[in-house]
Amino acid sequence: MMKNGFLFFIGLLAAFVFGWGGIALGSHLQLGALAPYYDDGEGSTFPARPQGLASRGQLVYADLGCASCHTQQVRRPDFGSDKDRGWGERQSVARDYIHQVRPQLGESRTGPDLANLAGRKAPYDGAELTQFLYTGIVPGTRVLNHPPYKFLFDERKIDGEVSANALALPASLAPAAGRQIVAGERARTLVAYLQSLNTPYEFPEARPVTPAASAKEGAHK
């Protein structure tokens, strides 16, 4: 086989098709047609489609490479501390991502998981998130522990009234008198995206397997 060029070529082709067909095509056959889940009781389907602003925000998230430090996949309650950290009551399942143009599962948790950021018990509101993106300082602390994304903001002269999108910064970070820091379009879409990250609906396949649970239909928790 190693001497016969044609057989060698066929071998290479087979090796490629084996791996590609097995992993890429195999999983596509299994999940490619995964549909939203229709809940009879609520009369609507889950997951909900993301809003336009949030979809654009996902592109900002992708472009800035946020996934190099943040995952968006909650693991089972009995595997790791994801539930204890408040990242989600249930594990993420494939159905959560079907409407996402560019799912950002990520491979690194230098920062916290964000799959359920808006659904947590103590979520940050939009103003806090916006300010965090600007300062890189987690609300309530004093340490710089995130890159400040100042380039997503504009510094402007206050012309008449203060802009509705202006940041309310502490004195140490505030701009000179008569000037304001205003969130740019990308900062606003990114915050809209982060605030849309929420997986409230419990799909049947997301329930932990326990003998007593009847896994027939999904429900809000």
Binding site: M1, M2, K3, G5, F8, L12, A15, F16, F18, G19, W20, G22, I23, A24, S27, H28, Q30, L31, G32, L34, A62, D63, L64, G65, C66, A67, S68, C69, T71, Q73, R75, F79, G80, S81, D84, R85, Q91, V93, A94, R95, Y97, R102, P103, L105, G106, E107, S108, R109, T110, G111, G136, T141, V143, L144, N145, H146, P147, P148, Y149, F151
Partner: protein
């Protein structure tokens, strides 16, 4: 070095291929230094988030992508192709043909890569690991790669020997398989994206295939050629080499799912990866048996290759161990995974490539390396850098993994606990960058001397003088 049984060190194939191959190798080295600068910036940002934070093009997410892309598609691809073509030319027994295609391909490859990097820096990154370059440069990259590969395939088809060698199999596999991989991956991820989590599955398959079906074969093509040449002995246990080759090609790509343990994907994907990682150890064991002669030989090339061999094997064992759920519970999503990646790519692949480079360049130029001191400096800094980088990142990752599993530990505390290790990793990146600068300078002086002076006659017959001694 005590066994210089090789004669006729510079062959007709070398003289004919000199400039096209040196162009590939030179491109690789320039990208290597650039990727070192970018990796250093990314490393500093991990412990000092404010570093260059106002520079949008160098924000952490982008600079990480830039460093990875330059390293793989700049350094490893150019150098690996240079080595693969050189090996195929020499073993084919005739000067390489269609080298003008290779030159044009090299120029287009590097142009495409440069455009891709500008794309990443200005906001067009795709966010897929190892496929960060925007889709508008991807077809160009495929075409350029094929153009470079033509020479190698012609040399393989027109070979004048009856038998074939392991280094030829690996080189040809890398030349043929990579365009298929890149086409399949960009079709399923960039042109007609699959839905939802399937993107992560396909991305994982591509990342692993790029390693197992492209980078590892490129590196092994060089190592399987240089070790017997430099030691003057045939490879032991050579009968197993073909089985090992096919094991890597068939099983390698299946191991990619180990990064998806516990994720929202079908459970068979990580489970298959777990089993495949263990199966793949057969390939690594045979490579170790085949190339073990590298440890007994002297000379720069063999020192790099023996270091690479240890790292390549250790990387495989760590992959197999961390593919188990119990271990992944700590190491997944941490710097430990980065340490494994660096061990495989820097410790394994790059060290093999360095070894082949140190062996090939004097034979392409017909002259010894310009400075033995620079060679020694590079060897020391590279080995120290890789060791320090892998150890510090692994320690940081282990700490981080345990902290993450302890829900009461805040992220500020985790950052404080890992900070000393991350400072060490930055020192390691600096050491690697400095070492690679020495190599680039030495390469530039050695190659420029070809135009300016006649070759020293004795270097042809004394292989030991061609590879500056490292001891």
């Amino acid at each position: 070095m005590s066994s210089p049984s090789t004669t006729a060190e510079v062959t007709a194939a070398d003289t004919a291929g000199r400039w096209p191959l040196l162009l590939l190798l030179a491109s690789g080295l320039v990208w290597l230094v650039l990727s070192g600068v970018l990796a250093l910036i990314a490393s500093i940002q991990l412990h000092s988030p404010g570093f260059l934070a106002d520079c949008e093009s160098l924000t952490h997410g982008r600079v990480t992508a830039l460093a990875e892309t330059t390293f793989i598609y700049g350094w490893a691809a150019n150098t690996g192709l240079g080595v693969a073509l050189w090996v195929l030319g020499r073993l084919g027994g005739a000067p390489l043909r269609a080298l003008n295609w290779a030159v044009v391909g090299t120029l287009f490859w590097n142009t495409g890569l440069s455009l891709g990097l500008v794309g990443i820096a200005t906001g067009d990154a795709t966010s897929f690991a190892l496929l960060e370059m925007p889709r508008y440069v991807q077809p160009l990259l495929v075409a350029a790669y094929v153009a470079i590969g033509v020479s190698g395939i012609l040399a393989w088809n027109g070979r004048r020997t009856d038998g074939t060698f392991a280094s030829q199999w690996y080189a040809v596999a890398a030349l043929i398989l990579f365009p298929w991989l890149l086409i399949a991956a960009q079709t399923m991820l960039l042109w007609s994206p699959v839905r939802g989590v399937l993107q992560a599955v396909v991305n994982g398959w591509y990342v692993q295939s790029a390693f197992s079906l492209w980078l590892a074969p490129l590196a092994l093509a060089g190592a399987y050629y240089v070790v017997p040449k430099a030691t003057g002995r045939t490879l032991p246990s050579y009968d197993f080499a073909s089985l090992s080759f096919w094991t890597l090609l068939f099983v390698g790509a299946l191991t990619g799912g180990r990064h998806l343990i516990g994720g929202p994907v079908p459970a068979w994907i990580p489970t298959l990866a777990n089993a495949s990682c263990t199966m793949l150890l057969f390939h690594y064991a045979v490579v170790a048996l085949n190339l073990r002669g590298a440890f007994s030989g002297g000379g720069t090339a063999l020192r790099f290759i023996s270091f690479g061999l240890v790292a390549y094997l250790l990387g495989a064992v760590l992959d197999a161990v961390t593919a188990f759920r119990g271990v992944a519970l700590v190491t997944q999503f941490t710097y430990f995974a980065t340490a494994q990646q660096q061990l495989a790519l820097y410790g394994g692949i790059s060290m093999f490539l360095f070894g082949s480079l140190y062996f090939a360049v004097p034979r392409l130029t017909g002259r010894a390396w310009a400075s033995a001191a620079l060679v020694r400096g590079h060897l020391a800094l590279a080995m120290f850098g890789v060791l320090l980088l892998v150890v510090t990142l692994a320690a940081a990752g282990w700490t981080q993994g345990h902290d993450l599993n302890h829900a009461a530990t805040s992220f500020a505390d985790i950052a404080a606990h890992t900070r000393p290790w991350l400072l060490g990793a930055t020192a390691a990146q600096a050491s690697l960058l400095l070492g690679n600068l020495l190599l680039l300078v030495n390469f530039a002086i050695s190659v420029s001397s070809v135009c300016c002076s006649a070759p020293a006659e004795n270097s042809f017959r004394q292989p030991s003088t061609m590879e500056a001694h490292a001891s």
